[in-house]
């Protein structure tokens, strides 16, 4: 069992948990992920690592309940435990293997969207610890959904933008990036974008125009996370890659996002049905247009 040492809410629907997992904490690097399973009947859920403490042996995860299984995770609180918690999985970020001198010469911008803000943090923190300061753009729907602001402030140059302008800048992350480059004299040669698939797609479209090398972190459907099942395959530069062993980070300019978005919907029907069944019991008989009702 993997004990939850603390659990809190970062925003309305975003949860943070610190989990006791010494073996993972000892070996994990920025860019990697874990798989958690609540109990015997639960799903294996891949989640990015938001922070780690090697001495205390803890891993911090941040997640947003979207399906039945993440909803069950959100119900756990301090003192509860995950039955299974395995990692670190995937390859560490390329930045980790780059000589520090070279990193210092680069001008790096991170673009974080929504709950994708969490996995950006360990990378930025790692750079900061190695004397490299990056720019970070955090994008959120509104003020209430901006997470980890204080944590970021101390390790980077932070720019926050909200879709509705309720906090700091207004507009999508792409608008912010464009403004920084076009109006505020910034120049970047390396970009790491992590967030919703649609955000990464448009960031890549823009950075391609600016000729900025862009890395994205893919979060496809997964089962085992060790290369065994092939559920997580993504098309990168016309080749099939497994996100769990070849990724999760890939060259964003080579990723087929449209297909990746489509693939992530694969279980929407099954998942949707399960949620509706749980929420509405026998009262759900179709009509939502999503689940096919009780077909």
């Amino acid at each position: 069992m993997y004990k939850i040492l603390s659990a809190d809410k970062l925003a309305a629907n975003i949860y943070r948990m610190v989990v006791d997992a010494p073996m993972v904490a000892k070996h994990c690097q920025p860019g990697q992920f874990i798989i958690a399973k609540v109990d015997e009947v639960g799903e294996r859920i891949p989640l990015t690592i938001c922070d780690y403490d090697r001495e205390k042996g803890t891993i911090t995860i941040v997640f947003q309940p979207i399906g039945n299984s993440t909803r069950r995770m959100a119900e756990l609180s301090t003192g509860d435990a995950f039955e299974d918690f395995v990692g670190p999985l995937g390859r560490p970020s390329d930045l980790i293997d780059t000589p520090i001198d070279e990193l210092k010469k680069r001008s790096i911008v991170f673009i974080a969207g929504g709950v994708g803000t969490a996995p950006v943090y360990p990378q930025v923190k790692w750079l900061h610890e190695h004397g490299v300061t990056a720019d970070v753009i955090i994008g959120a729907k509104n003020k209430d959904l901006v997470i980890l602001e204080d944590e970021f402030k101390s390790v980077c140059n932070l720019y926050i933008t909200t879709d509705d302008g309720s906090y700091q800048r207004k507009g999508m992350v792409t608008v912010c990036l464009q403004d920084l480059i076009e109006k505020e004299g910034k120049h970047y040669d390396w970009c790491v974008a992590i967030g919703p698939m649609i955000m990464m797609k448009f960031v890549c479209k823009m950075t391609k125009g600016y000729n900025i090398h862009t890395v994205v972190s893919m979060n496809p459907i997964m089962v085992d996370g060790t290369g065994m099942c092939g559920a997580c395959r993504v098309m990168v530069g016309g080749e099939v890659k497994f996100a769990c062993v070849d990724g999760p980070e890939f060259d964003g300019h080579l990723v087929d996002f449209d297909q990746a978005m489509q693939r992530n919907k694969m279980y929407q029907t099954e998942e949707g049905r399960a949620i509706l069944k749980a929420q509405e019991g026998d009262t759900h008989h179709g009509g939502c247009g999503m689940c096919g009702g009780d077909k």
Binding site: M23, V24, K26, H27, Q32, K37, V41, G42, E43, R44, N68, S69, R72, E83, D84, F85, V86, G87, P88, L89, V223, D224, T226, G227, M228, C229, G230, A231, R233, M235, V240, F242, V245, Q259, Q262, R263, K265, M266, Y267, E270, E271, A274
Partner: protein, 467 residues
């Protein structure tokens, strides 16, 4: 009970039409009377050919004599000398190409039903709470085993019997490897058989740590270094599923057999009380002709689909166990042989597979494997409608361990290089066996490799302290 010496005592099975709708075990096995009757067919040969055909060299005539005499305990003890997983092997070994193929009875009639007798003996021992005996004395040497599948469990069990302090590291949340994630419940019950076999290995003193991915959570070099293990056995299994690399293959509804079976077997998606989803297709095409393809097809059938197996060679070349093909047919699986997919066609709007385009094949000259090479018949392409495609084309080795272990060499096919005789790899103190070395093969071959490596490790440790 009357016995026809030319024929096996028939084994009871669930009715095909009934079992096609449930996940209960297909084969019900022999009862005591049937087993004792079948055992009278064994000629107790002086030079038993069957033993030569067994990858772990079970003393087959001796255990069958035990069954014949009603001394099942003795029968079990004989099997246990050579095999740690008899209840598994009695169910999933390809006996027809191993022990039973060599059986003298088979020359004129049917071979003795060795597999079913093994299963009976192992099940009898389980029902009577008989467990293998742990070592009397521990020798204090720490050995790490990577992977709790057939080769790892066997290697760990054998080493524990010799007194070693063995820890198995398993990447998944459950022990068993392919026995847990791959082979379905209806062929190999999980609670009744797999977990009991794992318990038996544990009762020998073996520790099993789940959720540890070697190469990620900890490396082989760390196991040999700061973690204090004196030798490591790598039995990490087959690896990454292969796809065909045909157009449309990333369409929604195209799965690897590994994914499909893992969802169903390990994650128990077929049960309402488990949360992992599985796509229940209406018309499913399984591509491939091995045991895994049969398992995927029969699983899809039980989930309610019409199922077709598409295989590019003819029935004779199907690599699956004969019993599996026979069972699949009885249950209503449709075999489209001499047929090969060329493209997956997806619905433009939804991205879901709606058909698979195939081409007819004919058999030409024998290829390197000795089987006649399938050749395309020009212009014979046609579409098969379907909403699910399951690719069962074998696997390629997982690089997680080989790429993170200094001095561990792999061959051209990226399989770990290891001696067949004792499992020794190119790295001192590191042994390997099973699918990680051979590429996808059978449970029993992996067990054989685990056994050989246990001997190799024992010799390695002994020679280390001899000087």
């Amino acid at each position: 009970m009357e016995v026809d010496m030319l024929k096996k005592v028939p084994v009871r099975e669930q009715d095909p039409m009934v079992r096609a709708r449930n996940f209960d075990e297909v084969c019900l096995g022999y009862n005591q009377e049937e087993a004792m009757a079948e055992s009278t067919r064994c000629l107790n040969c002086k030079k038993p050919k069957c033993v030569e055909g067994c990858p772990v060299h079970i003393n087959i005539p001796a255990f069958i004599q035990g069954v014949k005499n009603g001394d099942f305990r003795h029968a079990y003890d004989v099997i246990s000398e050579s095999s740690s997983l008899p209840a598994v092997c009695g169910r999933v070994c390809p006996q027809e190409t191993q022990c039973e193929e060599r059986c003298i009875r088979g020359i004129k009639g049917e071979a003795v039903s060795i597999g079913k007798l093994e299963r009976f003996t192992a099940d009898w021992a389980k029902e009577n709470g008989i467990k293998p005996a742990p070592a009397k004395e521990k020798n204090g040497h720490k050995i790490a085993v990577i992977g709790a599948g057939p080769s790892g469990l066997t290697c760990a069990g054998d080493l524990a019997k010799l007194g070693y302090d063995v820890t198995i590291f398993e990447a998944l949340h459950k022990a068993g490897g392919v026995l847990a994630y791959g082979i379905p419940e209806f062929r190999l019950p999980k609670d009744k058989v797999v977990e009991k076999e794992v318990e038996n290995v544990k009762s020998l003193g073996v520790k099993i740590e789940t959720n540890v991915v070697i190469g990620k959570s900890v490396t082989v070099d760390e196991l040999l270094g700061e973690e204090g293990f004196e030798a490591v056995f790598i039995g990490s299994g087959a690896g990454l599923p292969r796809f065909m690399n045909i157009p449309g293959e990333t369409a929604l509804g195209v799965f690897s057999a590994n994914e499909y079976l893992t969802r169903n077997n390990l994650m128990k998606a077929y049960r309402d009380d488990y949360y992992t989803p599985i796509h229940r297709g209406k018309k499913v095409v399984v591509v491939g002709g091995g045991n895994v393809a049969m398992d995927a097809a029969r699983t899809a059938l039980r989930l309610g689909a019409e199922v077709h197996i598409v295989y590019r060679r003819s029935e004779e070349e199907l690599p699956a166990r004969r019993e599996e093909v026979h069972h699949a047919k009885e249950e209503g699986i449709i075999f489209d042989l001499l047929t090969n997919p060329v493209e997956v066609i997806a619905d433009e709007k939804t991205g879901w597979v709606k058909a698979i385009r195939c081409i007819r094949m004919e058999l030409g000259e024998p290829d390197a494997s000795g089987r006649r090479r399938p050749v395309e018949i020009p212009g014979s392409e046609f579409n098969m409608d379907c909403d699910t495609v399951i690719m069962s084309l074998g696997t390629s080795p997982n690089p997680l361990i080989s790429s993170t272990t200094v001095g561990l060499d792999v061959n051209k096919r990226k399989c770990i290089i290891a001696s067949e005789e004792n499992g020794q790899t190119t790295k001192d103190g590191v042994f390997a066996g099973g699918d990680a070395v051979t590429g996808a093969a059978t449970v029993i071959l992996a067990m054989g490799a685990g056994k050989a490596a246990a001997k190799g490790i024992d010799q390695f440790i002994k020679s280390k302290y001899a000087g």
